[in-house]
């Protein structure tokens, strides 16, 4: 069950000077309840990849399956797919359009054709889950702060109760405090609703300590796929791909290079502390 991509490739503007291979032979499976970080440098194809997962882009080669069914097959219900695989775009705050916060979040549930009461219940639940205060419910979404707008936009997708939630750079453009808040909030929602979450980011530091699995993209192909520990044992390769490894990882990598016997698959302050304490013992 879940999402499965088999040998998926995508080329933009084939046969012209603008030709760009954005995805090359991607094979990937996303199971139920997984928490995945999708990492890659700018232009590595992350956004293109996630748009294949809910059928917004069709693969030029290969197949995308949802719950075992080919989503390109005739008669496949794409609208339903999009409610079950919720995709929050990069800078989602630029897609708000309604006159009030509630109305905007209602857009998704209403499109699903839910009864009014059910749709409203979901809207309030979603707005609560993203931490929007009740006194903002009737405000115009255009009067909110950047961080609040983004929360409302995330609620707009959350209100459809997706089984897989994909967020494209949810923390982009926020200050460190705001980033942490948004990521904590997403981790909380995942725990509560028990759904799969794919977190797209170009920053290792942001996602490493939240997710159970990291997929690293480089130039349109999957370069690595494994637990954070597995991925961070390849610190140097990550740096070669233009990815920032967390500061603590860089520290232990430097120590190792100096001949100190430490593990390098470390990415949180706590792990680093523990490892360094071992040395002094």
């Amino acid at each position: 069950m879940g999402i499965k991509l088999e040998h998926v490739s995508h080329i933009f503007n084939p046969g012209t000077t603008f030709e760009k291979a954005a995805l090359r032979n991607i094979c990937l499976e996303i199971g139920e309840g997984e928490f995945i970080g999708l990492i890659g440098h700018t232009g590595s194809g992350k956004s293109t990849l996630v748009q294949h997962m809910n059928g917004l882009i069709k693969p030029m080669a290969g197949t995308v399956y949802y719950d075992g069914q080919d989503i390109c097959a005739d008669g496949f219900d794409l609208k339903k797919l999009r409610t079950e695989v919720g995709l929050v775009f990069q800078y989602p705050e630029y897609q708000l359009f309604e006159t009030s916060v509630t109305k905007d979040v209602l857009f998704g549930p209403n499109n699903m054709g839910l009864p009014q009461l059910e749709a409203e219940m979901r809207t309030y639940e979603a707005l609560k889950a993203v931490g929007i205060d009740e006194d903002l419910l009737d405000a115009s979404p255009f009067d909110l702060s950047g961080g609040q707008k983004r929360r409302v936009a995330i609620a707009g997708v959350l209100a459809m109760k997706p089984k897989v939630l994909i967020l494209d750079e949810p923390a982009a453009g926020l200050d460190p405090g705001g980033r942490r808040e948004i990521l904590d909030m997403i981790a909380g929602i995942r725990r509560e609703r028990n759904i799969s979450v794919v977190l797209v980011s170009h920053s290792m530091e942001d996602v490493a300590e939240y997710v159970d699995r990291i997929i690293v993209m480089n130039d349109g192909y999957i370069a690595m796929d494994g637990t954070p520990h597995e991925v961070f044992t390849h610190g140097e390769e990550l740096e070669e791909m233009g990815l920032d490894v967390p500061d603590v990882t860089r520290l232990v990598m430097r120590l190792k290079a100096e001949g100190v016997n430490v593990r390098t698959d470390i990415f949180t302050m706590e792990q680093a502390e523990e490892e360094l304490k071992k040395l002094t013992r």
Binding site: L56, C72, L87, F89, Q95, F107, N111, M160
Partner: protein, 278 residues
């Protein structure tokens, strides 16, 4: 790479967007690309004028040859040249049919109240060919000239109007900004459309009112973003002390080269041929 029969609700809209080729530049390193934009502008005007200079079908031969040669030299794929035609298709068919049915003359075939005449057939053919050549020819100019170069050329060509206090510079600047923004706004529309589709939006079903209403989730964010971009740009321009055209110099002033003289010579030859054919 084949076997896709399915069309998402979104694919159709996207195809529509992709067809808008206005202001699209096709980067290549060709003789035509390197020509002075003023030459290309003059050439396009000349080409359009010649389309209306001849009276017999023989006239189309030099025009098509001239266009085909220019396209070949420009290295822009023919596919692109014809793509510009797609949005005009309806107009083209409409004009051809009107010409075909309304021209009086020697009757060839008739049924009920409809009659097709020899003159009608001829007019429709002329009309259709002219329109196709007109659109393809002028789109070649936008494919081979960057919007900036094009407006620089217009500014120079219309500079004499300044004595009548006509704001040549301002209009040229506005035009270049507008052209620059077309692809950006198209991309933005594409993104917003996808984002709303991801929330279950439906742009296709329902009557005309319902469909018009379905455009709101695209139009509102699009306008908001256009105004935001305009504001940002205005600030950025002011921050760089932009204050209109007065005393402003160019980083790359337009200068004619030997290449441009050669192009003028070819154009003169072409004009002569058109005038000579019956």
């Amino acid at each position: 790479m084949s076997g896709f029969s399915f069309q998402t609700t979104y694919e159709k809209e996207k195809d529509m967007l992709r067809d808008i080729t206005l202001g699209q530049y096709y980067p290549e390193d060709s003789f035509i690309h390197k020509l002075d934009p003023r030459v290309k502008f003059a050439g396009t005007i000349l080409y359009i004028v010649t389309l209306f200079l001849f009276k017999t079908f023989w006239g189309f031969i030099p025009v098509v040859l001239f266009l085909a040669a220019t396209v070949a030299i420009s290295k822009v794929p023919a596919k692109f040249i014809f793509k510009g035609m797609k949005p005009m298709l309806f107009l083209l068919i409409f004009m051809v049919i009107v010409n075909l049915l309304t021209t009086k003359g020697e009757e060839l075939w008739s049924w009920w109240k409809i009659s097709i005449t020899k003159e009608g057939l001829r007019n429709a053919g002329f009309m259709g060919l002219r329109l196709v050549l007109l659109v393809t020819g002028s789109s070649l100019m936008t494919y081979t000239t960057t919007p900036t170069a094009l407006t620089a050329a217009l500014e120079r060509i219309f500079a004499p109007l300044k004595i009548f206090r006509f704001p040549v510079h301002d209009i040229a600047m506005m035009m270049s900004i507008a052209l620059r923004f077309i692809p950006i706004l198209l991309e933005e529309t594409d993104k917003i459309m996808k984002a709303q589709l991801a929330r279950g939006a439906d742009f296709e079903t329902g009557n005309i009112f319902k469909r018009a209403k379905a455009m709101l989730p695209i139009l509102v964010p699009l306008f908001v973003s256009a105004f935001r971009r305009a504001g940002d740009l205005a600030q950025a321009m002011e921050a760089r002390c932009y204050h209109g055209g007065e005393g402003r110099t160019k980083l790359h002033p337009l200068k004619y080269s030997l290449r441009d003289l050669a192009a003028f010579a070819v154009m003169a030859g072409y004009l002569a041929v058109i005038i000579i054919v019956p």
